[in-house]
Amino acid sequence: MQDKIIQKARELLSGGDVKVVIGYGRGTGDRVHAVFVQKPEDAGALVMDARCLQNLAVYLPKQEVKALGKPAIVARPPVMRAIRQLMYEEQFREGDIVVIGVSDDGQVLDFPDLKSMIEYIDKLPLTLSPEEAAAVAKLDAMTREERWKFWMEETSACIKCYACRASCPMCYCPRCTVECNQPQWISVPAHEMGNLEWHIMRAMHLAGRCVNCGDCYRNCPLKIPLNLLTQRIIADIGDNFGQESEYVLAAFKPEDKEDFIR
């Protein structure tokens, strides 16, 4: 699989249209990290294995990465979902990115265009794994007071480093709500209320957009299980609007529930 990715990257970079391949490479110790391969002869640095979890779509809107030219990106399904969502939100158009797909069972996928990537990922509806569903169910089974205590304890550990935001491909706003201060919507300090406001706001902004890549949780230095918030929303959306693949915030149907309007 890794060899195929390397070969594909080499071809793309030799072709001249693609200027940079965003993929994973050897990091320090036993870590891997994002690499930006710009020459065909450097493609051998690319790595693909179970450690390659970071959602690389986060780099697509980054100024300095854009400056490198047209990117190809190594994409597992969560990355593909992120690209699809970014296209829904008109951040990218057909032809802007080349996707080197990697399926969940380790196949390297050839996508001639983004349309074919979307067709592929459309067939894989976003659902929670049994473990994830169980974690959400466990929270649901708590009493309101227990749940409040759980979240207060977790969010009180937050230091507002914004690693959750920075690592999320969907958090690409040049000026985040928490940075808008006229009025100051979200309290900036990392006190109890400020933290709670921040995480609720962020989860709500990700409703129907989160691709469940897990980076917010994995990258939190305090290991606050932030993905439980968005996973719960994913479950809710599934229950209320079905598992269809369209962009739930932009799709309106006559049979949509309206019982929240009172």
Binding site: H33, A34, I159, A163, P221, K223
Partner: protein, 336 residues
């Protein structure tokens, strides 16, 4: 000068209780939910042991992530200042690593130079540090490359080092340390010939002087862009750093009363330097990454005679994208 005593590990609970009943707030590392952080404890039971490094440093005790600076009340158009923050509680921080204790020198240099920051000074004065030497380290540790060591006493009031027989050698380094011992004198015994266990072997990985010499000339170099291309621009490195001191100021109000709060801030965040006009002197991540390294290894040594890094390795461990500071520094030193 330093007085040496021993204390059995089994006596630590007694020490904690004595400190507590003597009016001290005791902070110690507690492990749980995937993090090891300093929390207020009543007893030694449940205090983490065997950690190489805590997830967050004990900086929170001296420079809280969110701290009241002043209080005010507004009545129509007039403002009156209200009684400011209460005096900080006398606090003992137990279980800092020597690198963290050494970071207090950086905090002191920033907060007590020129303008004396009374908020910080009050906390520093009220804090006593019981550090524990390191008998183990990991690939991220590099204290010895920045002038420290696993048994460095800088910044500690008492330094504990493991000895045989499930006990610690206690080096009583300051008057504050002596005062703590005096709160539970029976728990400490004469050191005699107690032999300490071998400390962690932290290899020197780069020449600090070479780095300091090299940095001023490398401001315009390509290394900053190359290294930071994968940086996603969060503040994790600054917030887990025991020696990062930059802050933001935020006013918060509730009806006619309000507070001015000091909050941790990070040069890694774009908004840090953003002017109201929209102009940003450090507009891209490579400039922010350069600032982080320059500030710690060039500007601070130059202006404050301290290195703004103690080699604790937290930023590298916590970085979501493996911005390993040790590797990056080595690459800078070796770059031609």
């Amino acid at each position: 000068m330093t007085e040496k005593k021993t204390i059995k590990k089994s006596s630590l609970d007694g020490l904690f209780r004595a400190l507590k009943s003597g009016g001290k707030r005791v902070l110690a590392p507690v492990e749980g939910n995937g993090r090891t952080i300093f929390r207020e404890v009543d007893s030694y039971n449940g205090v983490a042991a065997g950690y190489i490094q805590t997830t967050l440093s004990a900086k929170d005790a001296l420079l809280p992530r969110c701290e009241e600076m002043l209080r005010f009340r507004t009545e129509q158009s007039t403002v009156t200042m209200e009684q400011g923050p209460a005096a900080p509680a006398p606090t003992v921080v137990f279980g800092m690593r020597p690198c963290d204790a050494k970071s207090l020198a950086v905090l002191n240099a920033v907060y007590l130079k020129d303008y004396n920051d009374e908020l910080y000074r009050a906390r520093a004065d009220a804090t006593t540090v019981i550090a524990i030497s390191c008998t183990s380290c990991d690939e991220y540790c590099f204290c010895t490359s920045v002038g420290g060591s696993p048994g460095d006493t800088t910044g500690s009031d008492i330094l504990l080092t493991e000895i045989d027989g499930d006990a610690y050698l206690a080096e009583i380094l300051t008057g504050k340390g002596e005062a703590l011992v005096a709160m539970a004198p029976d728990l400490f015994a004469a050191a005699g010939g107690a032999k300490t266990k071998p400390l962690a072997d932290v290899k020197v990985q780069f020449d600090l002087k070479e780095l300091e010499k090299k940095l001023p000339g490398s401001f315009e170099g390509p290394v900053w862009i190359t290294q930071s291309l994968r940086c996603i621009g969060c503040g994790t490195c600054s917030y887990v750093c025991p020696a990062c001191t930059c802050f933001d100021v935020q006013d918060e109000t509730d009806a006619n009363r309000g507070m001015r709060l000091r909050c941790w801030d990070s040069c890694g965040l774009g908004i840090f330097t953003l002017h109201t006009s929209g102009h940003n002197p450090r507009d891209v991540q490579s400039q922010r990454w350069r600032q982080r390294i320059m500030h710690k290894f060039s500007y601070q040594p130059d202006q404050l005679s301290v290195v703004g890094c103690v080699g604790c390795g937290r930023c590298s461990r916590a970085c979501p994208v493996d911005m390993n500071i040790l590797q990056h520094i080595k690459d800078i030193v070796e770059a031609r």
